[in-house]
């Protein structure tokens, strides 16, 4: 029978702590494995068209006639109305910073000195808060703020490959732009 004891649970804490040093210095028995595997993804009609249009220096969205959304990144179906989307629509290459981070950590969690400016940009011409993640450039970290107007800086046409990185980054949009 369980009694309402005042003694604390969990009553003990089983397990043996080891340090990374113990592993690296082989003080503990361990084994090592590096997976060798590669993937190639066919991207489907929506993202394929989106990326091919980036190669042309354009951002394209899909429209849903039922909820009246202009959706970017585009998809061939609307996840809310649960029906096929209706048509393609070119939108602008300017937008608004929805949120951002000034990152001193790279993809492998390595410390970096020059921070990466990263954020989410809602794109002009799409529905509110519809956009994608990208880098920022041509600005000091302290200039970057939520609500800032920005514009895409494209790679030279010859260097574009049909990838999200065909946009190098977004820079401050000054004087309203085009």
């Amino acid at each position: 029978m369980m009694s309402m004891k005042k003694e604390g649970y969990p009553k003990y804490a089983p397990g043996t702590h080891v340090s990374r040093k113990d592993i690296r210095n082989k003080n503990k028995t361990y084994t090592w494995w590096e997976p060798e595997v590669q993937y190639s993804w066919a991207m489907g009609p929506a993202i394929s068209r989106f990326l091919q249009e980036l190669k042309n220096g354009k951002i394209i969205a899909r429209c849903c006639n039922k909820c009246d959304r202009v959706i970017v990144p585009p998809r061939m179906f609307c996840e809310y109305c649960y029906k096929p989307t209706d048509k393609w629509l070119y939108i602008k290459d300017t937008g608004t910073v929805e949120t951002f981070s000034i990152a001193y950590l790279d993809g492998d969690a390595r410390r970096i000195k020059d921070p990466i400016l990263i954020g989410v940009i809602s794109i002009d011409g799409a529905s509110p808060q519809h956009g994608f993640m990208h880098y920022f450039g041509e600005m000091k970290p302290e200039e970057l703020h939520i609500g800032m107007k920005v514009k895409a800086v494209w790679k030279p046409e010859k260097e574009r490959t049909g990838a999200i990185t065909d946009i190098k980054y977004f820079k401050p949009l000054k004087g309203g732009g085009k």
Binding site: Y9, H17, R20, I118
Partner: protein, 386 residues
């Protein structure tokens, strides 16, 4: 549906690396829960395993790898997984095994080993991103949370020091937890604010550590539970909900999926006014701002009000609404799925008056636990009653 009681719980030490294998950790947590409940393997009808991405352990079919340690050999067994939501989702799955009547006694085990992954578990996290638009930017998961934190802070005009208070509270609360990885009774707000900027606004001490660990919980039909305990702690409500994967098309300031999950759980529990009826909560706190956002998602306060309640001391263990009395993920550690130890086992220990040094002094009757996962989109909620 039948009523479901909790009759035992266990958890291992949480550390950056533990020597024991995932199977062995599962065994240690399960043994403790069985001792607590006074049952043996033969008494278990079914077993549920919760464990997060396979990439951490580098072992696919991880459920199959772990089952022997989880007392599941020759039993009905299933592994459930929804990222960080797993620590509360696994006991929800346990609940439906028993509530439906297919099992009388079900064991829930949650295991995670993050320490096996080099150079850092963050490297494994890279494989959870969309390969088309997100991965080519060489993304780090901490960036994502930094962006969410920034949106939350900016919308409500919250100061960083009011977020840092959460890390201070939880690391201090963890001092009474024998399994805790990062307890610190002397930590101050300044320590958090002066810690390394990792990805602004996220600083080193805003983040919970990666950990190895396991936890276990034994669920039983209420009828049969009387055989094991006098006054069983029961699961009064469960809820879960997921938002769209298209995270750049959502406003990140409020976790509406957590609110949906909470409403589902409160309805089942017959809770009309969560602010008045809920005595304490264990919201998911992998980052300090997440505790605040999740208090709001759990409808325990208005949007933007959680930092104010925290500043006023309401969320301290001896406050009106104790939050994360276990020490949370920030203080006890974050072996993803195994945080069932803080988010659900702790509800049981608190409601049973067994939490020792961590015991909430005001005799709590109703607690809510919550976890959060996938790409900022999954909310899992459990309500437990004395």
């Amino acid at each position: 549906m039948r009523k479901v009681a909790v009759i035992g719980a266990g958890m291992t030490l949480f550390r950056r690396i533990l020597q024991e294998t995932g199977k062995e950790l599962s065994f240690l947590a399960t043994k403790m829960a069985m001792e607590d409940a006074g049952i043996e393997k033969k008494d278990l009808d079914m077993v549920i395993m919760g464990s997060a991405p396979d990439a951490f352990d580098g072992i696919h079919l991880k459920g199959e790898n772990l089952l022997d340690g989880a007392a599941a050999a020759n039993k009905p067994y299933v592994r459930v997984f929804n990222g960080g939501g797993t620590g509360v989702f696994a006991p929800i799955a346990g609940w439906w095994h028993v509530a439906s009547g297919v099992a009388d006694v079900a064991l829930v085990v949650c295991e995670e080993k993050m320490g096996s992954c080099f150079p850092h578990p963050q490297t494994a996290f890279r494989h959870i991103w969309d390969p088309f638009l997100d991965r080519p930017l060489n993304t780090n998961l901490v960036w994502l949370f930094a962006m969410e934190m920034n949106r939350y802070m900016t919308v409500h005009n919250i100061k960083k020091e009011d977020i840092a208070r959460v890390a201070v509270k939880n690391k201090r609360n963890a001092v009474g937890h024998p399994c805790a990885q990062l307890p610190d009774e002397n930590i101050t707000i300044d320590d958090v604010l002066n810690s390394e900027v990792v990805a602004w606004p996220v600083q080193r001490l805003d983040i919970s550590p990666p950990s190895d660990g396991a936890s276990a919980l034994i669920l039983c039909s209420e009828e049969k539970a009387k055989k094991y305990v006098e006054d069983p702690i029961t699961i009064a409500g469960v809820g879960w909900n997921i938002d769209s994967t298209m995270w750049t098309n959502r406003d990140l300031y409020f976790p509406r999926y957590v609110a949906n999950a909470a409403k589902m759980a409160y309805k089942m529990a017959g809770i009309d006014n969560p602010r008045k009826e809920i005595d304490f909560a264990e919201p998911y706190d992998p980052f300090d701002y997440k505790e605040l956002q999740h208090m709001e998602g759990l409808l325990l306060c208005d949007k933007g009000e959680a930092p104010i309640l925290t500043r006023e001391g309401v969320t301290q263990r001896d406050g009106n609404l104790p939050i994360c009395p276990s020490g949370g993920l920030l203080g006890v550690g974050n072996p993803i799925a195994a945080t069932m130890g803080q988010k659900v086992c702790e509800l049981y220990w608190q409601l049973a008056g067994k939490a020792g040094k961590r015991q909430i002094p005001t005799d709590p009757q109703i607690g809510v636990g919550q976890a959060w996962g996938d790409i900022m989109q999954m909310g899992t909620v459990i309500v437990m009653k004395r």
